[in-house]
């Protein structure tokens, strides 16, 4: 992305969303570690915010998104309410999923977010199916499916991408490559040339981008989504980024080579890079600081509101399982 095409207005909006995602996850981690209010595991995407932000900047609310267990950023960028999301992480009434899903199953169908998934790779066939449904119904939407680099080593990757090609579906598959499969380097577990080569072999047009450059991610996503909206074939985006935290908020990530995380943070942090971009374009430090401060304040308030919310009513435990043979009628 050259400075000559840089749009500071869009640049500010992209920075604002990345700051909001990071602030949300920093508050979520504090809620887990400091406050002991998040009881289950959460998987932060700190360092990966440019992918969620850049991609979602090109989507309409009516488009569908499917995500992973590391999906807070995607969900927030798709337009979900951070208070409802934080309530969900705390298992509270008013959470996006009524406190039944938690962090790993966060979803907001009102903004087209059809669910994070606790099973790696599982969302790939489901996302292809959502695109299949769109085609059958004649809807004007597209689907974006985001999964991690670990997901390319499970079968649904092959089955889902092939499905999308065979049925010529309006879908963009994105491998958000943070370099780690849980706590193991993905490169040590992956044969061949990796994600984009595999997608190409199945016939998808594959693009590799610097996933820490939000401007590039936004531009490339806009081009691809434009092609999909005009009836183009399914495409694949391999976004290279880095997970600055451990696998979960409780993982110190001691398995990483010494200095790796420090170097990534110093040189490739997507928020710092976007701030530099805006500063070079003449945006004042005060204004950039204000974006950061506003995002922090919003998410501190989200956590405060979530922590003040009650747990869900016990009576909801048997609701929304099934209509016929519902446990609310017979559970034994």
């Amino acid at each position: 992305m050259g400075q000559e095409n840089f749009d500071p207005k869009r640049g500010r909006a992209l920075l604002r969303m990345m700051e909001r995602i990071r602030a949300f996850e920093e508050q979520a981690c504090l809620a887990a570690e400091r406050d002991k209010l998040v009881l289950g595991a959460i998987h932060p995407s700190i360092g990966q915010e440019a992918v969620a932000t850049g991609v979602m900047s090109t989507l309409n609310q009516s488009d569908y998104l499917l995500s992973t267990h590391r999906g807070h950023g995607h969900t927030l960028a798709k337009g979900a309410d951070p208070v409802a999301m934080m309530r969900e992480l705390l298992g509270r009434e008013g959470g996006c999923c009524g406190g039944k899903g938690g962090s790993m199953h966060i979803a907001d169908f009102n903004v087209g977010m059809l669910g994070a998934n606790g099973v790696v790779s599982a969302n790939i066939t489901i996302a292809a199916g959502a695109a299949h449904g769109i085609k059958l119904l004649g809807d004007k939407r597209i689907v974006v499916d985001i999964f991690g680099d670990g997901a390319i080593n499970r079968g649904p990757f092959l089955e889902g991408l092939n499905w999308a090609m065979v049925f010529d579906l309006p879908i963009l598959f994105i491998c958000e490559d943070n370099q780690y499969s849980a706590t193991t380097k993905t490169s040590s577990m992956t044969g061949g040339e990796g994600a984009a080569a595999r997608a190409s072999a199945l016939g998808l047009r594959a693009t590799v981008v610097d996933g820490n450059d939000v401007e590039v991610v936004a531009d490339v996503s806009a081009e691809i989504c434009g092609r999909l909206r005009e009836g183009g074939k399914p495409e694949f985006l391999h976004a290279l980024t880095y997970r600055q935290t451990g696998h979960t908020s409780f993982d110190p990530a001691a398995y990483r080579p010494e200095g790796e995380a420090a170097e990534q943070k110093a040189k490739h942090d997507p928020i710092a890079r976007q701030r530099d971009m805006l500063a070079t374009a003449g945006v004042s430090e005060d204004e950039l600081d204000a974006i950061h401060i506003d995002a922090s304040a919003e998410m501190i308030e989200a956590l405060r509101l979530a922590a003040a919310s009650p747990f869900p009513d016990d009576a909801t435990v048997f609701l929304d399982v099934q209509d016929i043979g519902s446990p609310a009628v017979e559970a034994y």
Binding site: Y64, L66, G95, C96, C97, G98, G99, K100, G101, H105, A107, D108, F109, L114, G115, N117, G118, V119, A122, I124, T125, I126, A127, A128, G129, A130, A131, H132, G133, I134, K135, L136, L137, D139, G155, P156, E159, G160, N162, W163, V166, F167, L319, D320, V321, Q322, D323, I324, G325, P327, V329, E330
Partner: protein
Amino acid sequence: MPKLTYAQAALEAIRHSMTADPKVWCVGEDLGRGGVFGQYKGLREEFGEDRISDAPISEAAIMGAAFGAALAGTRPIVEMRFADFALCATDELVNQIAKARFMFGGQSRAPMVIRKPMGLWRSSAAQHSQSLESWYTHIPGLVVVCPATPQDNYSLLRAAIHCDDPVVYLEHKNIWANEGEVDFDLEIPIGEADIRRSGKDVTIVSWSNTANVAVEAANALAKDGVEAEVIDLRSLWPWDKSAVIESVRKTGRLVVAHESVSVGGFGAEVVATVAETAADALKGRIRRLGAPRSLIAYAPNLEDKMRVTAEMISAAALETTGS
């Protein structure tokens, strides 16, 4: 009323449901050519290739994509070809489809029918003969249906397509050609047992093809002066507890028979429920018949060792009556 085979009855159910609701569609391997058992024959000509959709041999994608399409607002009928192959799509069914509505706090539904032809089919051996219906009863979120007659296969398939829950629909592949009259106007709610034969002396509870075998056994018992009541559960979740309890209270005797492995089978659930709620009504010891906990062989004589026969059911019934 038309006389239809078990397979034709299902085909008519799909035809009528697809005509009534343009959101209903079918997806699976070889469907365009009519399906491996001909149970979709002619539907592609009528509804086109988008709605009778040929899939790659990708069971996980068939199940997962159908689920995604259900989330997007369609009502898929998923064909798994053989119940055995559905095991390739276990994560999609058990972790995704069954749980989505609950995990997402009621934001979504998965209105799907998953057809899984099951059961012994001469010399199909261990990977094409299994009956795993009890597994699915153990998964909250799923409805489990096991029709035994053409009428039930028509009415219950229509009910399954109409309902908003994911339904595991287990047809028995040895009875595709069984014939019977089918009333297209007859609605049968899922969860209601059928008293296939009334009797006062002993209750025989069964489902799927073994319910047909149980009727044969009851007819033979009648010649010996024993009047057996045959209850075809038709669905295993939900299952018609009250029909079973009421019958046991009348007869005081119970035989449960099914084709699947006896150990951990759904028969154990039926027997335990009777023991918990109607033990006082029992006049003889309960008998439970199922396959031995072993594997289904190819050779016919070995395969037959896995069968629950009419003779075995009659003998068990006589045993409960002390005859």
